[in-house]
Subunit: 309 residues, 2 copies
Amino acid sequence: MGTILFDKVALIGIGLIGSSIARDLKDLGLAREIVVSTRSAETLKRAEELSLGTRYTLSAADAAADADLVIVSVPVGASESVAKQIADHLKPGAIVTDVGSTKASVIAQMAPHIPQGVHFIAGHPLAGTEKSGPDAGFEGLFRGRWCILTPLPGTDEGALAKLRFFWEALGSRVDLMDPEHHDKVLAIVSHLPHIIAYNIVGTADDLEAVTQSEVIKYSASGFRDFTRLAASDPTMWRDVCLHNKDAILEMLSRFSEDLAYLQRAIRWGEGDKLFELFSRTREVRRSIIEAGQDVDVPDFGRHALDKKN
Amino acid sequence: MGTILFDKVALIGIGLIGSSIARDLKDLGLAREIVVSTRSAETLKRAEELSLGTRYTLSAADAAADADLVIVSVPVGASESVAKQIADHLKPGAIVTDVGSTKASVIAQMAPHIPQGVHFIAGHPLAGTEKSGPDAGFEGLFRGRWCILTPLPGTDEGALAKLRFFWEALGSRVDLMDPEHHDKVLAIVSHLPHIIAYNIVGTADDLEAVTQSEVIKYSASGFRDFTRLAASDPTMWRDVCLHNKDAILEMLSRFSEDLAYLQRAIRWGEGDKLFELFSRTREVRRSIIEAGQDVDVPDFGRHALDKKN
């Protein structure tokens, strides 16, 4: 239906992100051939059942051979292994990209293995849900979402333009960023929120004074919001923590410092300090809604759906 | 339309909760007379414009006079002041209740002022959104939600049954709980999540390395979830922090301890510890969905609404 952008696209990894790309590629008719590769035979079978590609293989090397665009969508800790597997099979002029949540580490893992004449441009579509696996993906996941590309000095302009055009065809808005800056930005807007969410759910899970069934029963009072992020893919998030360590530790330390200040204000009954913070944060929400980055309905619009319970 | 449960209901405070009760009372025809009282002339005028009651007054005493049911829906720090204002005007046999998020403190503030022969039963409907004020309320807010009542030893069984029946008429499920235990449970399922959300939004707001506009622009990556809770009413939450201090400080200290453990695991690259936690928390989400306490759609079902942006 659409314009063919790439003759052959190789999707290495076919989880939430990979399978959403596959669905869009197919839906928009952007590629003649879509080769799906994953190291799990079970997942590969499922991808085939879902008709996510035109060919399926357990070998990343096989998938990458002759591909015009290779998209690596694996936990960031597996990046180097994938790069090594595909390196000798990439054709000159091919574009290799990824979708990982950390960029400096992915570049450090992959770039050294990519041969001369192949264009490696790391990227990160800021899209997803708390679900994972090939069944979790869907058409239009990237529509209206940002995709950050982190080209290195010397990156081929033509290849960059082509990759940008690809993400725009999927409905994304594309930003270019320095990899280290990307990692700092994502540490605060994504990594810290996930870590905090995992942590509070863990704390609640461990209490003795309040039973687990009480935590679950009364979770609608605020707690359940955190459980969504804390239901995200454990392997993906373990790798994010390990591969954006410095930025995450910096943000965590600022968060803890601020929390100690708040804790002290609570202990000493300093209502004015609490009120000041609680008012200021309201403005941030307002800005996010004004920027079109969240829905402007109470409770994420969840209330209507809730009533079915 | 429905059965009249109370001849005259006095609503003291007409914010999100008070005004939602008003709407349900009217919609279900549960009261002959609904007297609305608030100390702000502006809010009272708005309540009248919205036709939330049958009579409007700036005097809590005036509203409470001759009422069969008095519902106090004010920030918990204002409980004692309200109790003092209404004490001499309550009629024998009247039921006085509240909707505050802390219970031991509200009881300590109010009970000593309530005259003999008046039934004081503290309560807490676990319902709400991040919005506040009389415009934020809506019919059916309490439907399918828990309402916790914390009667004291010696509470009149008939009055308790009547109050329970009232909340059930609004669609709530009612639980009875010891006030101190309520405060511990809410500290983890509600107070800590709000405090953590306020804190992380404050931390992000204060960064130098990442601009505020970047935080807003890329907030869909996780951060925006926290901004919803952090947009809640500052006065209400200041008071909750000050009036459930002990339970909140205990939960905060456990949270911080757990976070330090996580931080150390990140620093030392202990992926197995991270993976163990991140897997365990996924189960909690599953239990919440199985218990019907959250919607079973990715991203709170927000994705469809998002696409309008």
